[in-house]
Amino acid sequence: MAVETNPAVEVKNLSRTFGTFEALKNLSLAVRPGETLAIFGHNGAGKTTLLKILSTVMKPTGGEIYYGGLSIAADAENIRRRLGVVSHRSFLYSSLTAYDNLVFYSRLYDVAGYETRIKHLLNQLGLRSRMYDKVGTFSRGMSQRLAIARALLHRPEIVLMDEPESGLDSSAMDTLWQLMREDCRTIIFTHHNLERGFQAASRVVIMARGRMFFCPDIKCSPGELEKAYASSLETA
């Protein structure tokens, strides 16, 4: 007998409007535990809005979201404990050092033994030698690496990432995916590069004009993805 498990993330009829503009229109999506889902779409397709709503930063106009069966509307604080978020921006304070920033977030997330965890992550991401430098002196790529460390501090079960590779060099990109795959995490990420995103994902979907345009149940072939993406651009 097959064991039924709740999807790690389930989105039902999600909508979000800004004034008269509909950024998301009745969008539905289910992500299985351990899945790495890549979301592609043209500019303005609604990818960032979707991730902001999933990360509880923004409230939807309509629809429901469940994390492992728990409703985001009823249990947001507990759900946030299980989430790691990497955004376009780093969420880091430029006048504090890398270490200060990570200590601050560790305290917010109640990370036990955070000193060891911080040093481990900074080692992995090649930032150990700069841990006492102010984040304001970091390059874009270094800030992005530190943002990844921040997102993984509390060992989240689910990671949401908006263009996670922006500013990273190729070795940092490899480290990023190696760190992400530890602990069999569920990952949802957006990417502007079809090839790179396809490589990292175990399933891909395409959004267009606030809707799920292409949402196969299993990983499609690169050819199918390219064809679907080209069609999505025509509707944009």
Partner: protein
């Protein structure tokens, strides 16, 4: 209790940021001292007039200095969308409000602690007694409670430096009036019982606006 602990973590981060940058305290203290020095020159030779206007001068100075400090507190969170970093953390929106409130209250009190001795020296008024400390702390709670909420609202607007005073001053006026009158009564030789009605106004304002701001804050940052 956990909410308060998280709020203190946020406030401690603001204090650490200030220690690293010294942006708020240095600029606000210089501004406040300059205002007091200018008023001192204006009333310098007339000790009687200076004594009469002293309570008004100190509270107007605190109000303007407070605006500068409050404005800065959320600009810090807007850079690199740090406010979103707080919003995705497993803490309530109310904890974020309390954290920023505690941080702002600390800075306002610190600025007052630096500026009051300068004021006392230049205007030759004794500001160091328990009644005046009580008035100052209570009025500062009112400043910080309303100011934190309005600073969060103003930071998302383009003209935030203008928006905050326009929102803040009309609402905080009862506190300024009560604080000026209470301070004047004490400087005039009054005792605590003579200012209870003014303290009552400030206390009621503090409770109402602290509770209201605490409850409204989540709608402000989520929209």
């Amino acid at each position: 209790m956990r909410e308060i602990a998280k709020a203190f973590t946020i406030a401690a981060k603001d204090v650490l940021t200030e220690i690293r940058t010294r942006e708020i305290i240095s600029s606000v203290v210089v501004f406040a001292v300059l205002v007091i020095v200018i008023f001192n020159f204006a009333f310098g030779s007339n000790q009687q007039a200076a004594g009469l206007v002293a309570p008004g001068i100190i509270w107007v100075t605190f109000a303007f200095a407070g605006i500068l400090s409050l404005n800065r507190s959320f600009i810090l969170e807007k850079e690199e969308d740090c406010i979103e970093g707080l919003m995705v953390a497993p803490i309530s929106r109310e904890s974020i409000y309390l954290g920023k409130f505690f941080g702002n209250l600390f800075f306002i009190l610190l600025i007052q602690a630096i500026v009051i001795p300068v004021f006392s020296l230049l205007f030759n008024v004794g500001f160091f007694n328990i009644e005046l400390v009580l008035i100052t702390v209570m009025a500062s709670v009112g400043f910080a409670s309303v100011g934190t909420l309005f600073a969060a609202m103003a930071v998302s607007t383009r003209a935030r430096e203008l928006v905050l005073p326009v929102l803040f001053f009309p609402v905080i006026t009862p506190v300024i009036i009560a604080a000026v009158n209470a301070s004047a009564a004490i400087l005039d030789g009054g005792v605590l019982s003579s200012i209870t009605q003014w303290l009552g106004i400030i206390g009621a304002f503090d409770v109402i606006f602290l509770v209201a701001s605490y409850l409204i804050f989540c709608f402000i940052i989520e929209e």
